[in-house]
């Protein structure tokens, strides 16, 4: 059950919101407005499609070439800021969505990465993942904004990882 939900949760939630928004727009502005919005969506799709395809190809190729477990020996409890930096960079370079990233967190944990490094890794991926940046943020929001936001948030995963190491919460990686 949870698996089915996990696989289709986004689709169902977004689909519901989409249908409600379409109905509301239809009632307020009529059918042609809905048509215009759909055309905008189609244009956006054509705009994103080339980078999306390249991003997915790159993600699949990287998964064949790189084994992330090998990096984990630099991410142990005694690795200090250097370990947090390695974890952040590894996260930034991890392509793909949560279905790709979270299983990798388990791989890193069993290969010796500590909790600070894991926090830094997740945040590096979610804040500044290069694929998200190149496929969506740069084309849609413009390079200036994307570069500014990336530079501002670049050190944040390391800071969060450092704090996570200090927190008095007992956590063991699941087996």
């Amino acid at each position: 059950m949870i698996n089915l939900l996990r696989r289709h949760a986004s689709l169902m939630v977004i689909g519901t919101i989409c249908a409600m928004a379409a109905a509301a727009l239809w009632q307020r502005d009529g059918g042609p407005a809905v048509g215009r919005a759909l055309y905008h969506a189609w244009e956006l799709f054509l705009f994103i499609m080339p980078s999306l395809l390249a991003g997915l190809l790159l993600a699949a190729a990287l998964r064949q070439l790189v084994s992330p477990g090998a990096l984990a020996r630099w991410m142990g409890e005694e690795s200090g800021w250097f370990g947090l930096m390695v974890a952040t960079v590894a996260g930034t370079l991890t392509p793909g969505g949560p279905m790709a990233a979270f299983p990798l967190v388990l791989v890193l944990a069993s290969a010796g990465a500590d909790r600070g490094a894991l926090v830094a890794y997740i945040l590096g991926w979610s804040l500044n993942g290069f694929q998200k940046l190149l496929v969506y943020e740069v084309p849609l929001l413009g390079p200036e904004f994307a570069v500014m936001r990336t530079l501002i948030t670049l050190p944040m995963p390391m800071v969060a990882g450092w704090i996570a190491r200090k927190l008095p919460i007992a956590w063991e990686p699941p087996r």
């Binding site: 727009l25 969506a41 390249a54 997915l56 190729a61 949560p98 945040l123 998200k132 084309p139 413009g142």
Partner: protein, 171 residues
């Protein structure tokens, strides 16, 4: 094709070249995996992009100004950070919506805070992935460690904007 897109294709072709050197089997696996990912993402695109477009049409032109406009300051940054955490879905939802908010009058630092809040907190991702895979204790630890970051990102962006004028949207 924009510069970023060309760069991405270049990276992809280089990586594919390395895969080919390992043998055609590797390349076939890359192809199969890309097809699978497309199969998962395309249905999402079919509902996410129209949703963003409908919401953008529905939003009155100045709807965002009061809460998350450029003059909303610290409170606007907090509101945007929290709102970001509740944005449903992946980047294909969030970035088109940010564009829509901007057209409706949202401020640039507030949008930096919103994207950061979404990246860090994304409630739907915690429920569907982080909690089942890593457990509540890990979620709590990561949330506490990252709690102030979206607000920090918004404030830093405000600081940057005092020196460099930066807008949102392709030139």
């Amino acid at each position: 094709m924009t510069g970023g897109q060309a760069f991405l294709w270049l990276l992809a072709l280089v990586a594919l070249g390395f895969c080919l050197r390992r043998g055609p089997g590797t390349l076939r696996r890359v192809g199969a995996e890309t097809g699978q990912s497309l199969g998962k993402i395309l249905p999402l695109f079919c509902v996410a992009l129209p949703m963003a477009a409908f919401l953008a049409e529905l939003m009155p032109a100045d709807a965002a100004v009061t809460w998350i406009g450029p003059d909303s300051g610290f409170l606007g940054i907090v509101v945007a950070s929290v709102a970001g955490g509740f944005m449903p879905g992946g980047p294909f939802v969030t970035f088109p919506l940010v564009l829509a908010f901007t057209k409706a009058g949202a401020g640039v630092p507030q949008m930096a805070a919103l994207i950061t809040g979404w990246s860090i907190f994304a409630v739907h991702r915690i429920i569907t992935w982080e909690y089942p895979v890593l457990g509540w204790r890990f979620v709590a630890m990561r949330m506490i460690a990252a709690l102030p970051l979206p607000i920090a990102a918004g404030l830093l962006a405000e600081l940057v904007l005092e020196w460099v004028p930066i807008g949102i949207g392709s030139p």
